[in-house]
């Protein structure tokens, strides 16, 4: 059928094409196998162009050094997240094959300085996250050779000011993130207990003062009222409602006691004795205030 010489060239091309594609497809098979092996370990694998992104930090946290060997079979990984996995220093030796790796998460693993040593072959590394690991200044000194490094995360490690300063000098383009010192942090914020007693005092409107007595609450701004019972008997605290001025009991305040009550400005409060006999009112003003119940 194909004796015509004109047709032999296309036939040859077809054959060549076949050989090429079969070669490609066997490589593709290798990649497919590697991806399947990685996914089997729980990782999520994404392809971006020729490159791969591999995340173990969600479902693949059981990953061990042994598993890491299979990961390194997928050579074009640019992004690898091993956060919180079981990999150790020894396992990182497998990563040497990943020459294209630019972004590596190793935070919250058991790795330390010996592991960083294995990363020195990764010339394209731009991002290295080793927070909450055992690395020390030794690693920082080694990383001075990682010329493409741009970001380094070392929060909650044993690195020191001096080590960080040395690396910053060696690699001025690296941003080294050390994070906050949690042991010093808590004391820098005021706590609830330290809230000072408000300066503003609300006027006591005795029950016989018919003119000033508030009839209902109006809507306003959220604030805190310190009800201080300076009388010699327990009193009851009622909130006077918005519409019809219905009463809602908020509690009883013992003699000498202070109750901090959430309120709104322009709200109205009624104080009674234990038998619900009205004693007086407070009309909340602009802001946090003290409301003294007189003796």
């Amino acid at each position: 059928m194909c004796r015509n010489p004109i047709t032999t060239a296309p036939a040859f091309c077809l054959l060549l094409g076949y050989l090429l594609t079969s070669g490609l497809s066997s490589r593709a098979d290798e990649v497919t196998d590697a991806v399947a092996a990685i996914e089997k370990m729980g990782a999520s694998v994404r392809r971006t162009g020729d490159a791969w992104e591999v995340d173990f930090h969600l479902r693949g946290r059981g990953l061990t050094d042994k598993g890491l060997k299979h990961v390194a079979a997928l050579e074009n990984i640019v992004w690898l997240n091993l956060r919180n996995t079981k990999v150790t220093n020894a396992g990182l030796a497998h990563l040497k094959r990943l020459e294209k790796l630019r972004w590596l998460h190793l935070e919250k693993t058991e790795i330390g300085d010996a592991g960083i040593e294995h990363l020195m072959a990764l010339k394209n590394l731009e991002y290295l996250n080793v927070y909450a690991t055992k690395i020390t200044d030794k690693s920082l000194d080694r990383l001075a050779a990682a010329k493409n490094l741009r970001r380094l995360y070392v929060w909650q490690t044993e690195v020191t000011d001096a080590g960080v300063a040395r690396l910053e000098k060696a690699l001025p383009n690296v941003k080294i993130v050390r994070g906050v010192d949690l042991s010093k942090l808590a004391s820098s914020f005021p706590t609830e207990a330290e809230t000072p007693r408000p300066k503003l005092s609300l006027k006591w409107i005795a029950v016989n003062n018919r003119e000033d007595a508030p009839r209902r609450s109006e809507n306003g701004v959220n604030c805190t009222i310190w009800f201080e019972n300076k009388s010699k008997r327990p009193v009851k605290l009622y909130w006077i409602g918005y519409g019809g001025g219905e009463l809602k009991l908020y509690g009883t305040i013992a003699p000498g006691e202070t109750r901090r009550q959430n309120s709104y400005s322009r709200n109205a409060w009624l104080i009674t004795d234990e038998k619900d006999q009205p004693l007086g009112y407070f009309a909340v003003e602009e802001d946090d205030s003290v409301a003294v119940i007189p003796g």
Partner: protein, 446 residues
């Protein structure tokens, strides 16, 4: 007539469920989005009520004296950029932020403004949960993101946004379908905002009851899951089982993330003992656990006449801003930025702060500032956005854009681009009608 019966569990297991998105379509979308992708997750912070641009990221010290307000401008970590004096912590983080000072739109009411700000589209008349609504930014992002089985694609907390009892349109998945409605979660800790209304409280109670179910061995939950779900797939019913879905997360890393007791107490202190701060913390933990997009509604859930701890400061603007709103917000968002950065997550996590609109240059007779959509500010951080920059400007009095005027849709396009999603992508609703997902142009902030 025969009505197909689907058990809740089946629907949950199949994930995409009733919303009708075919797997090939999903794969196609992912492929499209993959190439430029930087950010892996997104935290949307919505400032309900409309934060004053003057009293946040665009102070106006040169404005006419009666417009200038009571607060001073302070320097930030970025030379030449000033913020309001009452966000001093954020000022220290300016090198992480892109501040957009020239946003504007035309919706003067909260409902329309929230819709425009969160969907990037003009607001139609309609119901809050109408499926014809445009998807919220949170829902739209989640549409293009992957999540592990049992992990929701989108979560919103600590409560939905209401205005005087009315649930606001635009906070849901709209025509993307119920599978893309963010799952509502109540933040399990923190002092609540003042002024949460009875509507919001009811919602919180519901969530608290769900919490109680967990403690009580989840028997009732299982019963509810096994109960057959009728073919009448009305929204409320669907929504209810989505709430159940939230409870199903017990088996996933998300459950561990949800329990704030697992967090270092010192880190919790850093965010502040307020539901605003604890929500930001929870957002960090949830994105870490693999939730692609989390929305924090920062402010009381119901405007209720502008009385609560929300940004709708028609009265006593300066008192409210100084004493209640800015301190909680400043501390919590600064903690979030600090924490994301020290964990090495900020580059993979986009933080987008969105609000209704700005507030009027003129201070009204009640010491408040009113609605001002003509110009306002929003910010972006992380996720490949270049920090330490200001895009656009407002005029001397903060009344109009003075340069690089841009729209909520442009802001959305920027967010989508940062997430590796092509803003020009076209999606189809369940009837096959095509929609271009965003009408804006990405801003040059990368």
């Amino acid at each position: 007539m025969h009505q197909p019966q689907v058990s809740r569990r089946t629907v949950l297991r199949t994930g995409v469920g009733l919303a009708g998105l075919s797997l090939p379509a999903l794969m196609q979308l992912r492929a499209r989005g993959a190439s430029a992708r930087r950010a892996k997750s997104c935290i949307v912070i919505y400032l309900w009520g409309g934060i004053a641009h003057q009293e946040s990221w665009d102070p106006k010290p040169e404005a006419l004296s009666d417009l200038r307000g009571e607060f001073k401008a302070i320097s930030t970590a970025t030379p030449g950029v000033q913020f309001c004096e009452h966000i001093p912590l954020m000022a220290q983080h300016s090198e992480k932020l892109a501040v957009i000072r020239s946003l504007h739109h035309t919706a003067g009411g909260h409902g329309g403004a929230l819709y425009t700000s969160i969907t990037g589209q003009p607001s139609p008349k309609g119901k809050a949960r109408d499926r014809a609504n445009w998807p919220s930014l949170t829902s739209m992002i989640s549409r293009f993101c992957d999540a592990d089985p049992g992990t929701p694609r989108a979560i919103a907390m600590p409560y939905l946004n209401y205005d005087n009892g009315a649930l606001i349109q635009g906070q849901f998945g709209g025509w993307l379908g119920a599978a893309y409605d963010p799952i509502m979660m109540r933040t399990p800790a923190g002092k609540p905002y003042g002024g949460t209304s009875r509507y919001t409280d009811r919602e919180l109670d519901l969530k608290l009851n769900l919490q109680r179910d967990r403690v009580e061995g989840r028997r009732s939950l299982r019963q509810q899951l096994e109960r057959k779900l009728g073919a009448k797939d009305d929204f409320e019913q669907h929504n209810r089982f989505r709430e159940m879905a939230a409870d199903m997360l017990l088996s996933s890393p998300v459950n561990r993330a949800y329990d704030l007791e697992n967090e270092d107490p010192r880190v919790r202190v850093m965010y502040g003992d307020h539901i605003g701060g604890q929500s930001m913390l929870l957002a960090r933990r949830l994105t870490e656990a693999g939730v692609p997009v989390v929305q924090v509604n920062a402010g009381a859930g119901d405007l209720a006449g502008g009385s609560g701890d929300n940004w709708d400061t028609h009265r006593d603007h300066f008192v409210k801003m100084k004493k209640r709103l800015l301190p909680v917000f400043d501390r919590s968002i600064s903690a979030l930025l600090t924490d994301l950065e020290q964990r090495g997550s900020l580059e993979e996590t986009l933080v987008a702060v969105i609000t209704d609109f700005g507030r009027t240059p003129k201070v009204n007779k009640n010491g408040g500032r009113d609605h001002h959509p003509a110009v306002y500010s929003q910010i972006l951080a992380g996720g490949g956005i270049r920090g330490g920059q200001v895009y656009g400007s407002s005029d001397r009095d903060g009344a109009k854009p003075a340069s690089n005027a841009c729209s909520p849709a442009d802001f959305h396009a920027t967010v989508l681009k940062a997430m590796g999603i092509n803003p020009r992508a076209v999606l189809h609703d369940k009837d096959g009608k095509p929609f271009r997902i965003c009408s804006g142009q990405p801003l040059p902030l990368f």
